[in-house]
Amino acid sequence: MKSHYQLAIIGAGPAGMAAAAEAAAFGAASVVFDEQPAPGGQIYRAVETPAAVDRAVFGPDYWHGSKLTKTLRDSGADYVPGATVWQVSPTREIGVTVDGSAMLLTADQVIVATGALERPFPVPGWTLPSVMTAGSAQVLLKSAALAADGAVFAGTGPLLYLVVWQYLQAGVAVKAVLDTTPRSNYFRAARHLAGALRAPQYLIKGIQLLRGINKAGVPLIRGVTDLRMLGEDAVSAVEYQRGGDWQRIEADQVFLHQGVVPNVNLSYSIGCGHTWNEAQLCWQAITDLWGESTVEGIAIAGDGAGINGALAAEHQGRIAGLGALYRIGTIGAHERDRRAAPARAGLTAERRIRPFLETLYRPVKCFRVPPHDETVVCRCEEVNVTAIRKAVAVGCVGPNQLKSFSRCGMGPCQGRLCGLTVSELIADLTDLPVSEIGYYRLRPPIKPLLLEELAELQAPAAME
């Protein structure tokens, strides 16, 4: 690792890998930092060393990732796995910890490709052990060939059905799928069907997944309007409301999911401008045509600038990589535009399905703005809905004042699991638009950092 790079890329998912490939093709001195032990991001996690499971379990979309990881490995960019980036300054000073020691380095251009995370799903009892996310089920399957027999899946969104389907392909029994997609979403989504039909592969895949789930005889319970997890030391049952009645299913493992949202912790901590995306119900970094954020020299590629999926992220990574090369001075405008053209066309094609998906799988309000007093919002500091209502009642009008007043968002996850809920909850309580409520003010370090590492921190110049 060097003390200075022309381009630093944070995250080795599809966007980061594609950006690295593009930059390295022109010989720009590049580095890719990634927190996981192997490249691929969450979507192509462990694609190089998959668990010993039948390849068909994951489907062909997953294996596409191995092309990308190979490109990254061959690219000539320095690839640093197991690297936790805990700060990027607006002047592109990067603080990173590798193998327990922290260092600072600098870069002319930075591409933040930190992807997405699952939307918080605050329901009573969601903090009980063995209540996990659908994404976590997939991680365990991909990286450890582990699956939970007889689990209940609850929520909405393509990933939920995909994981259920993958479980079934692996021969694992699924107890039930509690679908929280409201009926009205189907009607609203129908309006976007024409656009979706221009990307038929996604529709076909979706239909195949649902057909597979039906064929396996898994109870698919639609129209679920409320949920709660029950248990003492771990979850033992799920109760769900449907058509006004509460029903109960015994379960020792539950997976929740209601879509993914941009992982904005790094981009917020840099000071990049963000905007509320009402269609996707999330905060996203503001970017220009080349992915550059409102902070000069800092670009955001992939799902961090709005959810578009893995293939779109790859195109965005390429575009951001070319933009960075141009700003470095490696390529001219003409070369940049020429090479970006196919990626732009690909991106446009990938985006066609989004309005349909966003409308169909838009999570309902009661799972975003928890109506029950006892529901925990901030898992780290154990702050529930009642406590937040009280703080708002004494004049707390934003997430930052709320943090001060209630400790909500002050724990080690730094708001990743409560930030969206808090923005929407305060907006609901104050009757203001979410865009006016804002988000937590985030600052480095965005991941816990040993005091020892910080005390021994070396400035870039001293590392030569």
């Binding site: 996990m132 991680v139 582990l146």
Partner: protein, 108 residues
Amino acid sequence: MFTKVGDGDRDLVKVIFEDKEIMAPPGQSVAAVLLAEGIRSCRETPVSGEPRGPYCMMGICFECLVVIDGEPNQQACMRTVREGMLIKRQHGVAQIGPDAKAESDPAE
């Protein structure tokens, strides 16, 4: 309860959770290994003491905290098992203090 759906792994490494020896596939996360052993909760929170276990498996939620080789508050989903690794439950706050060494050092 998580079970293995693929072929058996070879070249297992031995780790110790509390007092129990676990043979674990190399390269896997501590959290995955604990879940495969049927260990559902791995800590009690510092605020109310309620039990918690792995939630996101991607390093963002900080629910799967454990003590690894005497170091408190380690994210079990982000640490890879190693031969001889000593894993303990995280009981509340990190046991760091002027005289905490003897208590938190599992080798003692």
